[in-house]
């Protein structure tokens, strides 16, 4: 077991660590702990935030924070679950600029509220994009399907 893993377990006993393959660790944490654990990883262990990703699963929205430990080449992925009826989580952007864009992106594409974000406006979608449509949710239905679009474009 790595020293960082041991420290994490002794400091935050509620987390679960799972090693999928060498250098790829997945750490499940409750969503209230996200700021505390990320600050611990970023400031004390100098891990770099590579990116976050949000996934719409059956149990809720899963948010993954991929922290990279560059000297060992290991990914520490923090996994949190946010309930679907109240998708809210603390924002990391106020103290970590690397999180700014991706939180805005997850906000517009998945509809997750990041409390405390300084500027939670859409990043990628157009201004005319409807506010209640979230393209990366499983129940999203596009107005035009890929097949229709292909038929449309290949029509002579």
């Amino acid at each position: 077991m790595r020293p960082l893993e041991q420290e994490l377990i002794s400091k935050f006993p509620e987390i679960k660590i799972y090693e999928h393959s060498p250098r790829r660790l997945y750490i499940t944490i409750p969503k209230e702990k996200i700021t505390e654990v990320s600050k611990f990883l970023f400031f004390q262990h100098k891990l770099r935030l590579s990116i976050c990703s949000g996934i719409d699963t059956r149990d809720g929205f899963e948010i993954l924070y991929h922290f990279s430990d560059d000297p060992t080449g290991t990914y520490y992925t923090l996994k949190t679950l946010v309930p679907k009826d109240d998708p809210k989580i603390d924002s990391l952007a106020p103290w970590l600029p690397a999180c700014n864009w991706i939180e805005r992106e997850m906000h517009e594409l998945l509809g997750i509220e990041f409390t405390g974000h300084p500027n939670l406006i859409p990043l990628l979608t157009a201004e005319s994009w409807p506010k209640d449509k979230y393209p990366l949710r499983r129940d999203f239905e596009p107005d035009i399907t890929l097949e229709d679009d292909f038929q449309e474009r290949t029509k002579l």
Partner: protein, 397 residues
């Protein structure tokens, strides 16, 4: 008094849709707002609707310049998810292709940087030396861009014994030319005046913004995925990470130029060490699970995350290109410099372009236009335009 200088949405020099709002006081830039998303193509939305094989071709089209790094990272994510072992020779072939891509991309950036500051000699030189690399791609994979080299479990194209001397000859040529170019850039007083101490990104900011690739290495952050998280054949060859502490545009140029030499070193060793054997393994199914693949693209770390639920297509596919982390750092790098420098500073992180300029049209299994025909077409068009505007003043044309 504060004024706003809008640059974009169609950037006059970089030919890609992005919008920079420069907030200036007189000549000095005091703030920057960045707007992106004018060309959002929704890859993460399309990818779960395609099979694992098809996604390789989809992610290849994210970028025309780093069209090897995205599929490379993607196939590694799938291989990580399914615990697939790739044959040794395929690892070497992937590495060779990846390093050739780095050379051509860095030379492309140097040319553009020269063009941005009005030094077109540098532009013409470096693009001239970049051309043989694209020819090598055509030799190895059949395409100058979008090589279709990677597949889950291996590679599609092999390098034959006869091709190795040709590649080595081009490498020797590139090495001498890049060495000459490096000396010319470092000695030129005009270039130094325009690049030195301009657009400094401090180490602290580089860490806070999480920048990657040459942008990070020019600011003294010694990260390189090839060294830190060895993949491909990078742990089997000798090479060095290029790191500079200054953080200005000159340091970024130096990192990129010296990395070309390192790439030549890596390819040479790979060609010498490459074992014989299979270049792909058979992949039967992707079990439920998740995988992360990352590689060092010319602009920095490319990140792909795959979640599989056991079906034929990914459940979730997260893609992060390096410019996504690098462009926000412009906010701090550009502050305090003049508008004239801003043009170069904003380009110093090497934001992505697409350069698929050649076309080939087929009709009834025959090539419709050859290079000669295209030239004729172009000349015809010029004649048409001339006829259309005949008699008008040349200036108004």
């Amino acid at each position: 008094m504060r004024r706003i200088v809008p640059v974009g949405p169609y950037h006059p020099l970089q030919e890609e849709p992005e919008f920079f709002k420069l907030i200036v006081e007189g000549e000095k830039v005091v703030g920057l707002e960045i707007n992106i998303g004018y060309n959002h193509r929704g890859h993460e939305f399309i990818s779960p609707k395609m099979t694992y094989e098809q996604v390789t071709f989809l992610v290849e089209r994210i970028c025309g310049i780093c069209s090897n790094s995205h599929p490379f990272a993607y196939v590694m994510a799938v291989e990580d998810c399914a615990h697939i072992q790739v044959p040794e020779r395929a690892l070497y072939l992937r590495t060779i292709n990846h390093e050739l891509e780095r050379i051509h991309s860095h030379l492309l950036w140097l040319g553009l940087a020269g063009h941005f500051i009005g030094y077109n000699t540098v532009w013409m030189w470096s693009w001239r030396y970049r051309e043989p690399v694209l020819d090598l791609f055509e030799l190895i994979t059949g395409n100058r861009n979008h090589y279709a080299m990677n597949k889950v479990g291996g590679v599609r194209h092999n390098i034959s014994e006869e091709q190795i001397p040709i590649i080595e000859k081009v490498l020797l040529d590139i090495e001498t030319k890049v060495n000459m170019l490096t000396k010319a850039v470092l000695d030129d007083p005009v270039l130094r005046a325009r690049l030195e101490n301009v657009g400094v990104l401090t180490k602290k900011d580089a860490i806070a913004y999480g920048v990657v690739g040459p942008t990070a290495r020019a600011s003294g952050v010694a990260i390189d995925v090839r060294k830190d998280d060895p993949h491909g054949a990078y742990d089997r060859v000798n090479w060095d990470i290029i790191v500079f502490e200054e953080g200005d545009v000159l340091a970024k140029a130096k990192v990129r130029l010296l990395e070309c030499i390192e790439s030549v070193k890596i390819i040479r060793q790979c060609l010498a060490q490459m074992p014989k054997g299979e270049i792909e393994t058979r992949v039967s199914e992707i079990p439920p699970g998740e995988g992360i693949g990352r590689t060092e693209a010319p602009r920095g770390e490319v990140f792909h995350y795959i979640r599989s639920d056991g079906k034929n297509s990914p459940f979730r596919h997260k893609i992060r290109a390096p410019s996504y982390m690098n462009i926000p750092s412009n906010e701090v790098a550009v502050k305090g410099y003049s508008i004239a420098d801003a043009c170069l500073i904003l380009a110093a992180v090497d934001p992505c372009y697409c350069c698929t300029e050649r076309i080939v049209a087929f009709e009834d299994n025959k090539m419709k236009y050859s290079g000669k025909d295209l030239l004729q077409l172009s000349l015809k068009k010029t004649e048409e335009l001339k006829a259309k505007y005949k008699g008008r003043n040349k200036l108004t044309l």
